[in-house]
Subunit: 438 residues, 2 copies
């Protein structure tokens, strides 16, 4: 996909010379390692470790699906508020693996605990500590139902621990972000800096996701593989509150294929290395800058996931405005975003607004057809419920050739808006998914 | 698609030598005509007229979409219980055409009324009659939003009326069924015969549909382009009751792409030429045979639509059994049937049951994973919530090469079942739909 991320994503950020990628900065208190356990059989990195030597405050939202990964089940059972490490594997979702999958995590957590403790024993005095297996968080992504490759991963744990890099430069982040991918064609990275009080705070974040993307996140259960790291000192409960507040307009506002994963998770880890002023609640005015930065990182990653949607050639923004409620706007926006007929029309660069009308109609939300305005970008095609008089399809067809298409739907029935981000539907999606397990 | 319809559809019916098509029989009191108004610009038939010289009792279910065709709006405004004619056009949906589209129907109904009355004036004494424009029903299918081609259709009305054939043989039915198609690759026809009391009753029916197929039918509003004709004498209210009773397991149980049309309609016309005993209500035991025949015709056409789904190479039956309620079974079955990832896996002949698990999970219906059994055809792959011990994927892969695939999901939580019919998702679907309007 040739979309220039610079135009799509937050424009005021540093862009790395490695391409259209932001340079991520070091988060104090975090070490990173990414290696290959050869789970794909082609030597690519597929295993990554994020280690917090002095622990991190942690919050997560998990998939709303009723069948979830054993890795999520593991995390949900942990009582500890402090997290010492996050282990991520790809290729295998550890879903529908039952006891075998859960037992695998037990073994891996014990092995990881042992090797991290060994490593610490060699470290300078003062940071010596024992890692509790219950301080380890897991995330998995890949094929559902396959036996969890415990042994293959376990073998690589000594090497993984040995490779931990405390000094994460942009290459370390790039390697880590690459090691969590499945069908993605490129890593997803985002960075923001902000202030809490007068203290500078950093957020470095990575994500993966390309197919099976239609996150549905809720209070304590949400969906997406995204890992956010900050050096701020913010309690877990407030971190979770901030994720929940910002999830609906970011990860919950994207869709590639309408298929919701059993695995996806959004996690935030705060190393608390910056001694910012104490935060007492989620509405604390001191959090304003941090929340904005967090929202930007989440939205940035969300858009990156969509631009890298399986087979995607075009990035589509669907704005539904002037609805009676946000719920109505959201339902209509997703009905359009998930319609195979709308998505194939965009792939065909065809301003077939009839399919948008169909998708609005099938949402079953009551609308007044005569109030409806539809625009492709700034080009109005429908007004007061019918095609405009001097409709010039030629101009709109030119617009449809762009890499990023905006579909604007004005219901003119209220004051609520919702925006959904998606991509077009091409033959490459079919190719990727008819052949996924081979 | 190479599925042998004989195996899929009702096996005890006559199959025409024209191929896998049933031979439809003449319905007394009905005349048919199909011509080309050159709406496609390639000379194919696109306009058909079904004329009931002595009127027909009529019932219909229309799309649940909140944006509907002006043709449906027209039909809903008619007060007459008796119908004299049905005019069907393709290429243009007459949706989002506003006043222009509705005005077009007014003109067409007047022209049709005039020409039918003229024809009758030449007919033998006794059947002379005047057709009221309000006794004419319309159905349209095609592109949404394009100006309704009133003039082009109007020009052909004299010729259309002139060509009416009272003696419908299989060729007349085949031509009529072909004239209502859009992206369909073949006409859809179904026939049943039954008895009411001791009187023989015939049902001849045709349908179209290939993409934008995910009918949602309700009491007085439903969705699908299917026309059923019978010589039985059954009141309109009872005809409607019978459609409603049988719609949920037939047209409401299919999906191609999850996109619900603004146009689709199921209509039944009863010419009352057979003097069967009077029917007083929908539960009348005398209706048993007729209802069974009606159900068979509806299911037969539904399956034909799915086997001819856009780009379809495989016919998929999804049985969800032992659910707590029919609603739960239906929601899960549709969640699996509409999943692009499941549909592409089937296209790839890959028994990727992980995607079925994903789709069950994303339905958000609460299930007990440990109770779950999943079978491809008769081959069990998951039992008690995990892959069976002696799982032989090779055998299942062989099964996936078949033209018709059965996915059986046992929830083991109750006694309710639901079956959905769908097709796989191939590159041809993308081809057809990126290029639809050209």
């Amino acid at each position: 996909m040739t979309v220039n991320l610079k135009n799509l994503l937050n424009p005021n950020k540093k862009i790395s010379k490695m391409g259209d990628f932001q340079e991520l900065e070091r988060i104090e208190g975090l070490s990173i390692s990414a290696v290959s356990a050869d789970l794909y059989g082609d030597g690519r990195d597929d295993l990554s470790l994020f280690y917090f030597k002095d622990g991190a405050k942690f919050a997560a939202l998990y998939t709303k699906s009723n069948i979830v990964s054993e890795s999520i089940n593991w995390n949900l059972k942990l009582k500890n508020k402090i997290t010492k490490a996050l282990l991520v594997n790809t290729k295998n979702a550890n879903t529908f693996t039952g006891k075998q999958g859960f037992q695998g995590l037990k073994e891996l957590s014990r092995s990881l605990s042992k090797h991290l403790t060994l490593k610490l024993a060699q470290a300078p005095k003062g940071i010596r500590d024992v890692i509790d297996p219950n301080e380890i968080i897991f995330a998995s992504t890949g094929v559902i139902g396959d036996t969890f490759p415990t042994e293959k991963i376990k073998e690589r744990i000594p090497y993984l621990v040995q490779n931990l890099k405390d000094n994460q430069n942009k290459y370390v982040w790039f390697k880590a972000a690459s090691s969590i991918l499945t069908t993605d064609t490129r890593p997803k990275l985002a960075f923001e800096e902000c202030e809490i009080g007068s203290k500078k705070i950093l957020i470095s974040a990575i994500a993966k996701g390309s197919g099976m993307i239609a996150p549905k996140l809720r209070g304590d259960h949400a969906t997406m593989l995204a890992f956010l790291f900050t050096d701020a000192n913010i309690p877990s409960s407030i971190l979770r509150g901030l994720l929940s507040k910002n999830i609906n307009t970011t990860f919950n506002a994207i869709t590639v294929d309408g298929d919701t994963s059993t695995n996806d998770s959004v996690m935030i880890f705060a190393t608390s290395k910056v001694k910012n002023s104490k935060i007492y609640n989620v509405l604390d005015p001191k959090l304003k800058g941090f929340e904005k930065a967090l929202h930007n990182v989440m939205l940035n990653l969300s858009k990156q996931i969509v631009t890298d949607g399986e087979g995607a050639k075009k990035f589509i923004t669907i704005n539904v405005i002037k609805a009676r409620s946000t719920q109505v706007a959201k339902k209509i926006a997703f009905s359009v975003a998930n319609s195979p007929l709308v998505k194939t029309a965009v792939a065909g660069e065809d301003p077939n607004y009839g399919r948008i009308i169909m998708a609005i109609g099938k949402s079953e939300e009551s609308i007044v057809a005569n109030n409806l305005t539809i625009k492709f970008g700034k080009f109005t095609v429908v007004e007061n419920g019918q095609q405009i008089d001097n409709y010039n399809e030629k101009i709109v067809k030119e617009y449809m050739k762009w890499d990023a298409i905006e579909i604007n739907i004005e219901l003119n029935m209220g004051k609520s808006n919702f925006t959904v981000y998606t991509c077009d539907f091409t033959k490459d999606y079919i190719d990727i998914n008819t052949d996924y397990r081979n």
